[in-house]
Symmetry: C2
């Protein structure tokens, strides 16, 4: 039933039927010849009424990695995952679906291989849940592409996946600064005050978001002139102090006579239609809306060009939300609900369990599968396709519209582009955050695990809403989460309507001071973070890696709450309440420890490999630099690029020899693709009790402004040698 | 505003206004004279419109213990707790209320003291949430008793609390056996088959529960004759194989002409009434019901005598559920909901956020505060009191009805008596389980923490629904939870309607075998468990204790997922998915480790104090016997009391001297209160490389059948000496 095509030494495509072209893959598969093929390696294949099951018998030692934006452990064994993009604000452990679908996994154990199923609707991975040693993947269709990556190396499987689906998105450099958001800052004045407050309190900040309430009654591409009389002026004034404003955009177009988006979309037939060919109606924030048919290229161009309204104001970032697409309810869904409530009314006296049925119905009125089956997309070839069949592509194509047209407008400008919903391929053009989490300590661990899983999918630039989106947060939780966030690429504090404010100054003085130290630490690390990020993209290696991707042995496979952040740094955040420390596993090599949030007060300590309880008070986060590797820091600034980086501080534990390839570029354009970037090859060799330091600059385009490097190099015995070098 | 009475050297009562007599306290406070008093030690007292706030400035090192059935960490700092008994099946971390109210806490740090507020309605403890260093307790009334326990010793504070409120409940010995439940076993046949299956699979079991569906249309004190044609015969037949049947009972009495409970209650005016004096109507499982007025002694006698229907069948245990009381909805609540939905219907086109309001309303239709304010209790003195004012006493008084009348019926019989809702004082006559948890790994940790907090309240005999009540469970989760449960006094596997079956045989063969080993291990420990339980009650010391109650220093205050189970054993359950081990902190002394679930295969290892990573595969749970203490085991049986215990195995690490006071009695009566119990004083002294063993029996009533004791005594160096002793 399958045809087969060997794409590389490691990667083979197994095709079933006529798959929909999702855009996930960048390799050209047209007019290549497929061979007939009956069996799939590793898997036993079962057909049952229109479904296909792939069955694999797992060994005790097998670990499963990947699956991107999913809940549960880093080792995906022991849970069922359902890929069907869903806007669910209750990320409780039993949930099987979130906002994105990333059906790429690595099985590592007795055998090691990778697998990617390119199919844009429901796929179910039952990984040792129903039967603890059986991996069962169910695709309810016969039209899909299955890729097997046949390598024993997890990292080379990921490289193959990136070769197939493309390299990760690169944001502007300022996107690595701190970002503040809230649903909502309700007025221009409020936004300006938040910006002012950051500068007054001396907390670095690069971005402030305006959530849905900046719009005129939630109409996309409009601005509430009453609350935001001069949005453009606000954008320009904040730019003066280094703060970029990013607006949110939702796909649902309000049904309202005279509203441009509505009238245009209606006239041009740009909306999804129901079974009768009428524009499909679904209620979201604005009430009744139509959904743009993003699977059509003409619609994408139309939509994408609208962003010019914002780029003309000097806006450099966009936040595409609600694009699963989220549906609060449809008229049909509402009718069903009302039927049930009428029944309840008539049976008041003996309705008991019925009230729970009503409850279920109301809870299921949102994002109801039936609604997703009831509308259609007109494709470029004029054919109609049911949304259900391509559900997981909607957010991807909305964001494709954004990215493509921004490229049209300003081909050489990098944008901070976020989408809530995603599918493989989106990682090339934008990134995602982790959606509507909660102010729960447990969600810090979800954040840490998902960060590692998403990096495997090429979503390098990601992070969670710091402090938690839903529910109220304590100062302690926000502080600990700010510490974790300082070591995630996307660093944004965000919270929901009617929750406790959680900007850094919303708590006590001590908390404010600790948070200032944390954010300043983040900025001190930006030379390292940006350099490592760019090198990771270049090398096609995840920027954030599980320990088990770097070190051998069973023991590290159990470690899910520590991670490698770039090649030199291991992060072990404290993610439990009231704790004054945590256990840390230090694999294989020696490690140079640093726990102070106040980076001027770092005092470094050398650890042998092993298991340790590391003390970490509220103003501390355990960081570990790997033996024979280096990190590079600079003085914190109020925002990225406020000043030239003229001095670097290089820190490392060198028992033998360490090399660091420091990278930098203009941070805002794609000129680096034409060789306009700077490199410092920093090479340190231990010679007796001293170190031989060699720095080779490569800087044809004059990117680097570095005049001086401070070296702080530790020996295995903890002794340190400090040197400055003028260059 | 307060009057004051010194009750003991450590305990002082501060009275405000005219408190309602809750029955929490057993000390007679009548016609004692109170002194005038203005200040409360430790606290600053604020009055704000009818509310009283108690404010305490916490130091960094202060730890707060107690509060019983609450979510969050063992150290209660960093969260808000609201004591208002609530039936909430979603135990997410942000929830402030559960089924019971236990306003007793211990602050341990710069100062150390205990506090108990005897007030039966809402009390709020904001423990460093709003301000991380402020403890703020709010009582929205001026009529309450506040007790301050002024001792530096946590355990003596708890002793004082037990002197004040009474000693913990003592169940029959068989209550320490394994118990199986499900919502629901729908027929007599199903129950019989489950019992048979336990004996076939060789898994010990003492109890099977019948949940709500054994009743005739959820009418309390009735039996569905169609599904359970011979409930009594079932009870007797299962007794033959050592299995006790326990039925569930709900307070809500179905409104149905001719139904005895309804007619009697109505005629005698035994139901709670609304503001117009009509019997109050609330919908629960049966649909519309009336709530018995358990705050009236005549009503309690009426209700309690009904249990005779079951005791006549030979039933020895009862499960009082839904007694917060849980309210699905009231006619008024339903009307409000329907109004909102009508509005929705009329505004279909532009309703957006409104559908979320409707959702909120439906979610809040259950257990709505307004409903609790809308009914009344007639007290013994004929006065009417609003339910709101005494809300937290309802379940306590329902269970008091049960306990008092069972005592009337069979004064010398012990019963297994469970209540879902509770208030201090209930711990004297019955116990509670932890309510409707979920099959979430996170809820194993909740179980471990709550187990320790509930023991401080005198709820020694407690535990959680093993495997989780709501949601589906994996084999791994059930196994790990069965391991934890083996070391909690109440050991019951229970799950909800429409969830995956989780009896031990519902998974694979390997899982079945591991679970058999775990349950057999539990039974091997019963001599120790029962002896320690009875000694704990005698000594007024919690049966389960946090490490910080036994060992000194800041470090142990961070340990929340290990606990002392009796005086000799520390339990460190694996509570994370896919883990092959865990970190364990071993304080102060040496420890003798045992991890095998299969107790015949135990191999013991001695550890020095420190932090360790302990390997623990799926069939292992890390157990540690404290240096110079002992445990006593016997051969597992199919059920408690199946055979006489003629041989004991005594295990310990004796570097110096260890004494164990083994206790036993008939396990079913109160004769032990007349001295009818047996003791073995086992005294082991290290003498050179050998041990001097001395066993002194005290057994006037001929309780003990022990003929032989196997000693397995380890030396600090791990060497072991095995001896048998005939007695």
């Amino acid at each position: 039933m399958f045809t087969k095509m060997q794409l590389t030494q490691y990667t083979t495509l197994y095709r079933s039927g006529k798959p929909f072209k999702t855009g996930a893959v960048i390799v050209d598969l047209e007019n290549k010849d497929f061979q007939q093929n009956d069996t799939i390696p590793y898997f036993q294949v079962e057909e049952e009424d229109g479904k296909i099951n792939f069955i694999y018998n797992m060994s005790k030692e097998d670990v499963v990695y990947g699956l991107g934006e999913t809940l549960g452990a880093l080792n995906k064994r022991g849970k069922i995952y359902r890929f069907y993009n869903t806007d669910d604000p209750e990320h409780t452990p039993d949930k099987m679906s979130l906002y994105g679908s990333h059906p790429f996994m690595i099985l590592d154990g007795k055998s090691t291989f990778g697998l990617f199923i390119d199919y844009p609707s429901e796929i179910i991975f039952d990984i040792g849940f129903t039967d603890k040693d059986i991996l069962k993947i169910t695709v309810p269709s016969k039209d899909f592409d299955l890729y097997i990556f046949d390598s024993d190396e997890k990292l080379s499987i990921i490289k193959e996946y990136f070769n197939l689906t493309g390299k990760p998105y690169i944001p502007p450099k300022w996107a690595f600064g701190f970002q503040q958001s809230r649903w909502s800052y309700f007025s221009e004045e409020e936004v300006r005050n938040v910006a002012k407050k950051f500068r007054e309190t001396g907390i670095p900040c690069d971005v402030i978001y305006t959530d849905i309430d900046y719009m005129d009654s939630y109409k996309v591409f409009t601005i509430n002139k009453e609350k935001f009389p001069n949005y453009e002026g606000m954008v320009k004034d904040l730019k003066e102090i280094g703060i970029k404003v990013i607006p949110i955009l939702d796909p649902g177009v309000k049904i309202e006579k005279g509203y441009e988006m509505y009238e245009e979309g209606k006239d041009k037939g740009f909306f999804c239609v129901d079974e009768n060919g009428n524009d499909f109606v679904a209620a979201v924030w604005p009430g009744a809306t139509h959904f743009p048919n993003f699977l059509n290229s003409e619609v994408r161009r139309w939509w994408g060009k609208k962003y010019k309204i914002f780029t003309d104001m000097g806006i450099k970032g966009f936040w595409n939300d609600m694009n699963e697409p989220s549906i609060f309810y449809t008229p049909k869904g509402l009718d069903n609900l009302l039927k049930i409530l009428k029944y309840l009314e008539e049976n008041k006296e003996n309705a008991g369990i019925e009230v729970f049925l009503a409850r279920e119905t109301l809870l299921n009125i949102a994002n109801n599968p039936e609604d997703y089956r009831s509308f259609f997309h007109k494709l470029d070839d004029g054919s109609l396709i049911n949304h259900e069949k391509v559900h997981n592509l909607y957010g991807f194509n909305m964001t494709k519209a954004t990215a493509d047209e921004l490229k049209e407008l300003n081909p050489n400008e990098r944008y901070l582009l976020l989408s809530r919903s995603s599918y493989p391929g989106l990682h090339r053009i934008a990134s995602i955050w982790m959606g509507d989490n909660k102010s729960w300590w447990e969600h810090m661990l979800v954040n840490i695990r998902m960060l590692q899983s998403l990096n495997m999918m090429g979503f390098f630039y990601t992070g969670a809403d710091i402090g938690g989106f839903g529910a109220d947060s304590s100062a302690e939780l926000v502080i600990r989460w700010m510490e974790l966030g300082a070591f995630t690429p996307f660093y944004r504090n965000h919270t929901a309507l009617n929750t406790r404010p959680q900007e850094p100054w919303q708590f006590d003085e001590e908390s404010l001071n600790i948070m200032r130290d944390i954010v300043r630490l983040r900025y001190a690390f930006i030379p390292y973070t940006y350099s490592e990020y760019m090198n990771s993209v270049k090398e096609s290696v995840p920027f954030v890696k599980p320990l088990s991707f770097v070190f051998e042995g069973d023991r590290v496979k159990d470690i899910e709450d520590q991670y490698m952040y770039g090649d030199s740094l291991m992060v072990a955040p404290v993610h439990e309440q009231n704790k004054k420390g945590r256990y840390v596993h230090l694999p294989d090599v020696k490690w140079l420890n640093w726990t102070a949030c106040k980076y001027e007060e770092r005092n470094m300590k050398v650890y042998e490999p092993g298991d340790y309880y590391i003390q970490a008070y509220l103003n501390e986060i355990p960081l570990f630099i790997k033996e024979n590797s280096l990190i590079v820091l600079s003085e914190p600034m109020n925002y990225v690029g406020e000043k030239d980086i003229t001095e670097l501080t290089v820190i490392g534990l060198v028992s033998d020899h360490a090399i660091y390839n420091y990278y930098d570029d203009d941070g805002i354009t794609y000129n680096f693709t034409n060789g306009e970037f700077g490199n410092l090859k920093i090479d340190i060799t231990k010679v007796g009790k001293d170190f031989k330091i060699d720095v080779k600059p490569y800087d044809p385009a004059n990117i680097l402004k570095i005049k001086k490097i401070h070296f702080e190099i530790y020996d295995s015995d903890g002794s340190v040698i400090k040197k400055d070098m003028i260059i």
